[in-house]
Amino acid sequence: MAFNNMFKNALDDTNRNKNVGTFAYLLHRITGIGLAIYLVMHTYVLSSAISGKETFNQRMGLVQNPLFAILEVGLVAGVFFHMLNGLRITICDFFGVTLSHKVFFWIEMVIFIIIMIIAIVLQWPKMQSGYYTGM
């Protein structure tokens, strides 16, 4: 199977197997790729520290505005979904509780939603425009 059919096949498989397992798996992959890209960006931003304190503060300033505050909520969502789902499949594999995987999925979702509510509440002030003066 070649790369050129990749998306078509993935879509077809998803379409035929509509269940939480498939959705969790797809989201896990998508968030995984997203986080890997983020890791590179994050390293780039922080690496400014090598050039000194001022550069660091300046570059951090670029990404600390309401738009990025909103994106950050997405990042938190990606991280926690990937984390919780990873824990779920690890637990299922290691402890032989595969038959309850759906229960685990819904527990995961509940925890995920709680974390997201907390994240949004805490992030809310930063998302209001004009809160920052910038640097």
Binding site: M1, G21, T22, I89, G96, T98
Partner: protein, 239 residues
């Protein structure tokens, strides 16, 4: 009146696959397979589909019905709804209509050495096996080789060399069998790049298994066994 939307494809008459619609009579308790036979016998004798026992043990008639892979013989039309969309198993070459080429599926089945390799010479009577030992292989011996799991597994979709849920479940049946003496050889083969660790724990196979055998769980158990064998130095190099 139930409507069947059946996947049709015949390389002899055209390259294009399409869905054909049939109207069926409303009969209480009619199964999908009976519906297909009704089409074959009364509406369209060119329809091709596999079937044999019509009671859920031969595994011929696994296909994609409605929203997931099922056995046509033990699914009642009423449980699916008024419009039933029927497609063949995925991940294998479609030969005609609902018939797919099962060669890769059986190739994986054969690759795991699906037969008992006993320790030493067999006794004059039976091998003694306690009910507790027998219960370890209880559900895994019920597999009917219908290939529904194989069709539902996204890893199989992209890599035909992956052993697939059925073969791995079958392997666990022998690994767990108290009479089998080749556990480490089996695990060595199963722990390779085409074996258990390619499973991404997606649970599609568990979802579709008409016998509720939980291949995902079987693969999980094999992963643990392989890891333990690896860290205790029991795995052998293959090839």
């Amino acid at each position: 009146m139930p409507t069947f939307k059946v996947f049709r494809y015949n390389p002899k008459t055209g390259d294009q696959a399409y869905f054909q619609t049939y109207q069926l009579p409303d009969v209480k308790g009619m199964t999908i397979l009976e519906g297909l036979y009704y089409i074959l016998e009364n509406l369209d004798s060119t329809l091709a589909f596999r079937s044999s026992c019509r009671m859920g043990v031969c595994g011929s008639c696994a296909m994609h019905i409605g929203d997931k892979y099922r056995l046509a013989c033990e699914t009642q039309i009423a449980d699916i709804g008024d419009t039933v969309t029927i497609r063949p198993l995925a991940h294998m070459k479609i030969i005609r209509d609902l018939v797919v080429d099962l060669t890769p599926f059986f190739a994986q089945y054969e690759a795991i050495k699906p037969y008992l390799i006993p320790v030493g010479e067999p006794p004059t009577r039976e091998f003694k096996q306690s009910p507790a030992q027998r219960s370890k292989i209880d559900i895994y011996v019920d597999c009917i080789l219908c290939a529904a799991c194989y069709g539902s597994c996204p890893v199989v979709a992209t890599d035909e060399k992956y052993l697939g849920p059925q073969a791995l479940l079958k392997a666990l049946r022998f690994v767990n069998d108290s009479r089998d003496g080749a556990t480490n050889d089996r695990l060595s083969y199963l722990a390779t790049d085409y074996g258990v660790f390619r499973c991404h724990t997606i649970f599609n196979c568990q979802q579709v298994c008409p016998k509720n055998l939980d291949p995902t769980g079987a693969i999980g158990k094999l992963k643990m066994k392989s890891l333990i064998a690896k860290f205790t130095g029991k795995l052998k190099k293959i090839g």
